[in-house]
């Protein structure tokens, strides 16, 4: 275990100090461009009546023709990620260079002067709404769960690559959503004395479960991003007829 992390850190130490920032910018940038592109220029990602791309769930009918229904849904997961404590760290570091990383060399390059730095006090104070995005996201995850069940019924029960992909996606998204820091606070973080409140033991247990997920929040954040992305791409490839959804059972 520790040997592994050691060599990983010595591995990453070989990269220049800006390498982390550039990677994050590249991935997050690509994802943003991709989502804007599909929302405005692509049809709803749905295939065969049983695979609805996670970017379109829950399916809200759009009142305006040219506007994709995704607009009415996507703001929740996007807002959730935008205000997520982990992604905040990632983009403050990567996009704003506040700071780019922790070495003294990198910190000397912070673009903001002390007078202009206000952390999360001014503009970024809106990140405190994160918990509301969490509430929204829990609902979204519930719909995704429903969509995943549907994905197992292409025509009667069946298992396809698509349904497995959807299952994986919902698991990873749940890991991300239920490992959220606001969730942790809600579950039991805000209670100071479990033995003094009603249902304290349950709250303590849920706090511990959430804490386990939360311990690897960064991991869940990335893998769930890729799984959503992957599921949408998969559905689009099916729609375009490039591949077919291989049926296993």
């Amino acid at each position: 275990m520790s040997g592994g992390t050691l060599s990983w850190s010595s591995f990453t130490a070989r990269f220049p100090w800006w390498a982390g920032s550039v990677t994050t910018v590249a991935i997050l940038g690509a994802f943003t461009i991709y989502s804007i592109f599909i929302v405005f220029f692509q049809p709803v990602g749905e295939y065969g009546g049983y695979l609805l791309s996670p970017m379109y769930s829950p399916p809200v009918p759009s009142p305006i023709d040219w506007l994709s229904p995704a607009i009415f849904v996507l703001w929740i997961p996007l807002g959730f990620r935008l205000t997520c404590y982990y992604y905040r760290k990632a983009y403050y570091r990567a996009f704003l260079w506040d700071p780019p990383n922790c070495s003294s060399k990198a910190q000397q390059r912070e673009p903001r002067s002390p007078e202009n730095y206000s952390g999360e006090r001014n503009l970024w104070v809106f990140n405190n709404v994160h918990r509301y995005f969490l509430y929204g996201s829990i609902i979204v995850v519930a719909f995704l769960l429903y969509e995943t069940i549907r994905a197992f019924f292409p025509d009667g029960f069946g298992i396809t690559i698509g349904s497995l992909l959807f299952l994986l996606n919902v698991v990873l998204l749940s890991g991300y959503t239920f490992g959220c820091h606001s969730m942790r606070h809600l579950a039991g973080g805000r209670v100071d004395c479990y033995s003094c409140v009603r249902g304290g033991n349950l709250r303590r247990k849920s706090f511990q479960w959430v804490s386990v997920l939360n311990g690897r929040h960064m991991f869940w954040a990335w893998v769930s991003l890729f799984s959503v992305w992957g599921a949408d791409v998969y559905v689009r490839l099916l729609m375009a007829g490039v591949i077919t959804d291989l049926r296993l059972v």
């Binding site: 002390p114 730095y117 952390g119 606070h185 004395c193 003094c196």
Partner: protein, 288 residues
């Protein structure tokens, strides 16, 4: 005196004398270190060369130099065992405990030792950390209206052991960009003190609220943008950002940024997080 006694006596004087031999035996080759020498007015790196001792930490090297080559080389240390947090300095630009950092970690690299840079330099490896103790004084201390002995269960306090491990090395303060780059010292308490405020806030028997201090007062938690440099350097592995700062930010959000919570407080009155009972509205949690 019996023969056995005589033997004992003989050995008594020998056993501890062996120690010195170990040291010279173990010496093979030399190590070079560059150490900042200077004071508030400025200074520069000076290179020293010392004999290798097996398993040596950087502090051993610095103390060797002090004893044999530069008697006035200033460095802080006490325990030599990573318990006291005195020997913080920057090695190759990263804050480290000198007594915990082995020289062999840097094989094939330069070793450049500097004082912590977020604080004014006094001399050589010693910087002026007084400011931290002023922040300590500004923190609202523990207060309980119950009389000890307390009945507290392990499950209620297990979260508090982690922040309590802090050895006050102030390396997290050193590496925090809010302090190092943006010099927000007067309005920002820094990670070490968020750690302390966290256990105070979560202590089952404490009756004070520190949320106002954290948001409006000298705490200045809003300046922290959770970029985790503090967590990366903590020598006792406190997950400062995840387990101290973010939980406090969530509590501050409860109090100041959550309209639903605000409404609920208006309707149902303030509730104690200890007992769920309604308490006074002045922000203090007593009276329940």
């Amino acid at each position: 005196m019996s023969e056995q006694d005589a033997q004992q006596k003989d050995m008594a004087s020998k056993a501890h004398a062996d120690v010195h031999q170990d040291e010279s035996d173990a010496a093979q080759g030399t190590t070079r270190l560059k150490i900042f020498r200077g004071d508030a007015e400025g200074g520069s790196e000076v290179e020293y060369e010392i004999p290798n001792i097996e398993g040596m930490v950087v502090l051993d090297a610095v103390l060797y130099i002090q004893a044999h080559q530069a008697g006035d080389l200033a460095v802080r240390w006490n325990c030599k065992a990573a318990h006291c947090g005195s020997c913080s300095a920057e090695i190759n630009g990263k804050p480290k405990l000198l007594c915990k950092t082995r020289v062999e970690e840097y094989e094939g690299q330069e070793i450049r030792v500097h004082p912590m840079r977020a604080f004014p330099v006094i001399k050589d490896l010693v910087s002026d950390v007084k400011w931290n103790y002023e922040v300590a004084r500004s923190t609202i201390p523990f207060q309980s209206d119950e009389q000890a002995p307390f009945i507290m269960y392990e499950e209620d306090v297990e979260r508090l052991y982690e922040p309590k491990k802090c050895i006050e090395c102030f390396m997290c303060q050193d590496v925090c960009h809010v302090l190092r780059t943006h010099h927000k010292h007067p309005e920002f308490a820094g990670p070490r003190f968020f750690v302390r405020n966290q256990w105070l806030e979560m202590h089952p028997k404490d009756t004070q609220s520190r949320l106002e201090y954290l948001k409006e007062g000298q705490g200045g938690i809003g300046y922290c943008n959770i970029t985790k440099c503090c967590t990366e350097v903590c020598p006792v592995n406190i997950k400062i950002t995840d387990n101290s700062i973010i939980p406090l930010k969530e509590r501050v959000a409860d109090e100041y940024y959550d309209p639903a919570k605000w409404l609920m407080r208006k309707i149902r009155g303030r509730r104690s997080p200890k007992t769920g009972a309604v308490v006074g509205r002045n922000g203090n949690r007593n009276g329940g």
